[in-house]
C-alpha cells in the first residue's frame, strides 16, 4: 500500500513565524481584511461554543434543558452537578487510571521514538530506507482492525480490567518515529555526532549526551500529542475495561451517557470533567502544540 506520503514540511526553527522578505508583498503576505476576520470569528465561535455550552448545560437542571429557548447562560448548579458526576461516574479513580495510562504510554513512546528516529535520521545502515517505508506503511493500517485477536489475548492472559491491557497496544506509534526523525534530521548537526565519535563515544553515549538534549523540544511536543491521544482513546479501553469497573475517563464518561440516567445535565457535567484537563493543557501549551502539529503535519 504505497501512498505518496509526503513528508511534512521541514521543521522550522522559528516555528509559527513566517520568514518572508519585507519587500515581497505579492502573494500570501497580505494583511487580512474584515471578511477574513469575520470568517475566523465564526470558526472560532463554532469551535468553542459546544465546549462552553457543555458547561452551561451542566449548570442547569433538566427541566430547564427541556424548555425552549435553550439556555444561553450559566445557571447556579454547576459545582453541585460536577460533584455528583464525579462520584457517580467514579471519576476520581478514572482520572488516576487515565493519567497513569496516558503518562506511561506517552513517556515510553517518546523515548522509543527518539531513539528510533535518531537511527533513521542520522545513522547509516542496510535496509534503512526500506524499514522507514515500512514504518510509514504501518500508519495506513488502522489499529481497530486488530482488536479481536487482542481481545482474545487479553482473555487468555486474564488481563481484562487491567491497565496493562490498554497500555501495551498503545505503544505502537509510527507517527512518533516519523515525527522524531523529521525533527532530528534538521535539529541535530552531523558535526556534533562526528565530534563525539572522534572522542570515542559509543552510540548509547551519543544518544544520552547529544540526541536527548537536542531533541528535548520535540520530545515535549510529541509527549503532549501522545498524552492527548491516549487520554482520548475510546474503543479499545471501552472493550477491555468494563466488567468490574476500572475505567479510564472516556469509558466512565461514555458509561454516564449510556447509563439509564435521564439526567442530561449530569451527563454534560461528566463530559466537561473528562475534557477539562486537556483544555487546561491546551490553554497553557497551545502554542507549542500547534507548532508541533505543523511540524509533524501528520495525523497520529
Amino acid at each position: 500500500m504505497t501512498t505518496t506520503l509526503t513528508p511534512p514540511t521541514p521543521p522550522d526553527h522559528k516555528q509559527g513565524r513566517v520568514r518572508r522578505p519585507k519587500a515581497a508583498r505579492a502573494g500570501g503576505t497580505l494583511h487580512a481584511g474584515p471578511i477574513a476576520y469575520l470568517i475566523l470569528a465564526l470558526f472560532t465561535i463554532g469551535s468553542l461554543f459546544p465546549l462552553v455550552w457543555t458547561a452551561i448545560a451542566a449548570s442547569r437542571d433538566n427541566q430547564r434543558l427541556a424548555e425552549t429557548p435553550p439556555p444561553f447562560w450559566f445557571g447556579s448548579g454547576l459545582f453541585d452537578k460536577l460533584e455528583i458526576a464525579w462520584t457517580d461516574a467514579n471519576l476520581g479513580e478514572a482520572f488516576i487510571n487515565t493519567t497513569f495510562v496516558a503518562g506511561v504510554s506517552a513517556i515510553t513512546i517518546v523515548v522509543l521514538s527518539t531513539i528510533a528516529g535518531f537511527a533513521f535520521a542520522k545513522l547509516r545502515f542496510k535496509g534503512r530506507n526500506a524499514m522507514m517505508l515500512i514504518v510509514i506503511g504501518t500508519m495506513m493500517v488502522p489499529p481497530q482492525l486488530s482488536i479481536i485477536p487482542l481481545y482474545m489475548m487479553v482473555a487468555k492472559l486474564d488481563w481484562s480490567d487491567q491497565l496493562q491491557a490498554v497500555i501495551l497496544p498503545s505503544l505502537v506509534s509510527a507517527f512518533g518515529v516519523f515525527f522524531m526523525r523529521q525533527y532530528l534530521i534538521q535539529a541535530l548537526p552531523d558535526e556534533l555526532i562526528e565530534a563525539a565519535r572522534v572522542d570515542g563515544a559509543s552510540s548509547w553515549r551519543v544518544i544520552w549526551h547529544i540526541v536527548f538534549p537536542a531533541a528535548r523540544p520535540a520530545m515535549a511536543v510529541l509527549g503532549m500529542l501522545m498524552f492527548v491521544q491516549t487520554w482520548n482513546d475510546f474503543l479499545w479501553p471501552f472493550l477491555v475495561l468494563t466488567q468490574n469497573g476500572n475505567p479510564t475517563v472516556q469509558v466512565a464518561v461514555a458509561g454516564l451517557g449510556r447509563g439509564y440516567t435521564p439526567d442530561q445535565s449530569l451527563i454534560m457535567a461528566g463530559a466537561l470533567l473528562g475534557t477539562l484537563p486537556l483544555l487546561v493543557v491546551f490553554a497553557i501549551f497551545g502554542k507549542q502544540i500547534v507548532g508541533g502539529i505543523m511540524q509533524g503535519a501528520v495525523k497520529g
Binding site: T4, G16, A24, F125, I134, T138, I148, P149, A155, A297
Partner: protein, 339 residues
C-alpha cells in the same frame, strides 16, 4: 528478530561497517596500547554495525506483537466460529462467516452508511480546512489565538463531543432546531431521519478535525517559496488565480495525504454513532440509519457475541482499505506523471 544484536535477520556484512569507522587518534603506539586499540575498534565496529538495528527494533517488535500478528490472526479467526464468552475456543467453519455477513442486509446498509458518512464528513471538512488555512496564512492579529481555538475540538474526546452533540441536535429542545426555527425551518428529527442523522454524526467528525487539518495545510502553505507568488503576480495573476495556480499545485502532496488519512479515519468511525444513538444500542439508530461498519463489527462481536463473524467484517474492511490504497497509488502516479 530478537534483540537486534547478533540476529539472523540482519543483513550480511559485505562492506565492513557502513559508517566510517574511525579509531581514536593517537600518539606513539606501545604493544599493549595496540591490543587495547584493536579491542576497542572491534567493539566500535560492532557498535556501528548493529546499534542502529537495536534502536529501531522496539518499534518493529511492538508492531509485530500488537499490529501485524493480530491483523493476520483476524483473518484466521474469521474462518472459525468464536464466541465472545469463550474467546479461546475456535472451531473451523471455512468461509461461512463471510457468506453470513454478505447475506446480511445490515452489512450492506452499514457499508453504504460508512461511505456516505465518510463523504459527508470528509469533503466539507477538508474544503473548510483549506479555506481556513488560506485565511490563517494572511498577516493576522492574534494568529496564535485562532490556531489554538480551532484545535480545542481536537482536545475534546469522541465520547464528550458525541454526548454534547446529542443534546445540541435534540429534536424538541436542541439548540440547533431552535436556531433553525428562528429562520423559519421546522424541527428536524436528527435521530430518526436518515440523512439528518448521518449529517449529525458527520458533524461531530467535522467539528473535531477541521482545525487540525487546517493547521496541516497552513504548514504546507508556509513552505511554498515566496518567489512563486512574486512571479505569478508579475504575470498579472490576481489572488484567486495565484491560489489556483500556485498554492493548490504546491499543496497537492499534502492534500493527497490528508485525503488518505481522512479516508482511513472515515472507514473506522465507531464512537460517534455509538454514543449519538439515543436508544443506547449498537445498531446505529432504530432503523440502523447511521450504523457504520465499525459499529456493525462491534454489534456482531460484542452484542451478538460472534467474534468469528466480527473478524470476517474486520478482514473485509482491511481488504477494502487495500483496494483504496491501490486506487490512491494509481491516482497519485497519474497526477505526478501529468505534472
Amino acid at each position: 528478530m530478537s534483540t537486534g544484536h547478533d540476529t539472523a535477520a540482519a543483513p550480511p556484512a559485505k562492506e565492513g561497517g557502513a559508517a566510517p569507522g574511525r579509531p581514536p587518534a593517537d600518539g606513539a603506539p606501545t604493544e599493549a596500547d595496540q591490543r587495547r586499540r584493536a579491542r576497542l575498534s572491534r567493539r566500535w565496529q560492532r557498535d556501528m554495525r548493529w546499534s542502529p538495528y537495536a534502536f529501531v527494533s522496539p518499534f518493529f517488535l511492538l508492531f509485530l506483537a500488537f499490529g501485524l500478528f493480530p491483523l493476520i490472526y483476524t483473518g484466521w479467526a474469521s474462518l472459525h466460529t468464536v464466541e465472545l464468552t469463550a474467546p479461546t475456543d475456535m472451531s473451523w467453519v471455512g468461509l461461512r462467516n463471510y457468506t453470513r455477513i454478505f447475506d446480511d442486509d445490515f452489512f450492506w446498509n452499514a457499508a453504504k452508511n460508512t461511505l456516505t458518512i465518510g463523504i459527508i464528513s470528509t469533503v466539507p471538512q477538508l474544503l473548510m480546512a483549506m479555506g481556513l488555512a488560506h485565511i490563517l496564512n494572511y498577516k493576522l492579529r492574534a494568529s496564535t489565538f485562532y490556531r489554538v481555538a480551532m484545535l480545542a475540538p481536537y482536545a475534546t474526546s469522541i465520547a464528550a463531543a458525541s454526548l454534547v452533540f446529542v443534546l445540541l441536535f435534540g429534536r424538541d429542545y436542541g439548540m440547533i432546531n431552535w436556531a433553525l426555527n428562528m429562520v423559519g425551518i421546522d424541527n428536524i428529527d436528527w435521530q430518526n431521519d436518515k440523512w439528518p442523522s448521518q449529517f449529525a454524526v458527520s458533524s461531530i467528525v467535522i467539528w473535531r478535525w477541521t482545525g487540525y487539518n487546517a493547521l496541516i495545510y497552513l504548514a504546507a502553505m508556509q513552505a511554498i517559496p515566496q518567489d512563486l507568488y512574486e512571479s505569478a503576480a508579475l504575470d498579472g495573476a490576481n489572488r484567486w488565480r495565484q491560489f489556483i495556480h500556485v498554492t493548490l499545485p504546491s499543496l497537492r502532496p499534502t492534500i493527497l495525504f490528508t485525503v488518505v488519512v481522512s479516508t482511513i479515519g472515515a472507514s473506522q468511525v465507531f464512537g460517534e454513532p455509538l454514543l449519538f444513538d439515543a436508544n443506547k444500542g449498537a445498531s446505529g439508530g432504530s432503523q440502523h440509519q447511521f450504523q457504520t461498519l465499525g459499529l456493525y463489527l462491534y454489534e456482531q462481536g460484542w452484542v451478538n457475541q460472534h467474534l468469528g463473524r466480527a473478524s470476517a467484517i474486520a478482514w473485509t474492511m482491511f481488504l477494502i482499505l487495500i483496494v483504496i490504497g491501490i486506487v490512491n497509488y494509481v491516482i497519485s502516479r497519474r497526477l505526478r506523471a501529468s505534472s
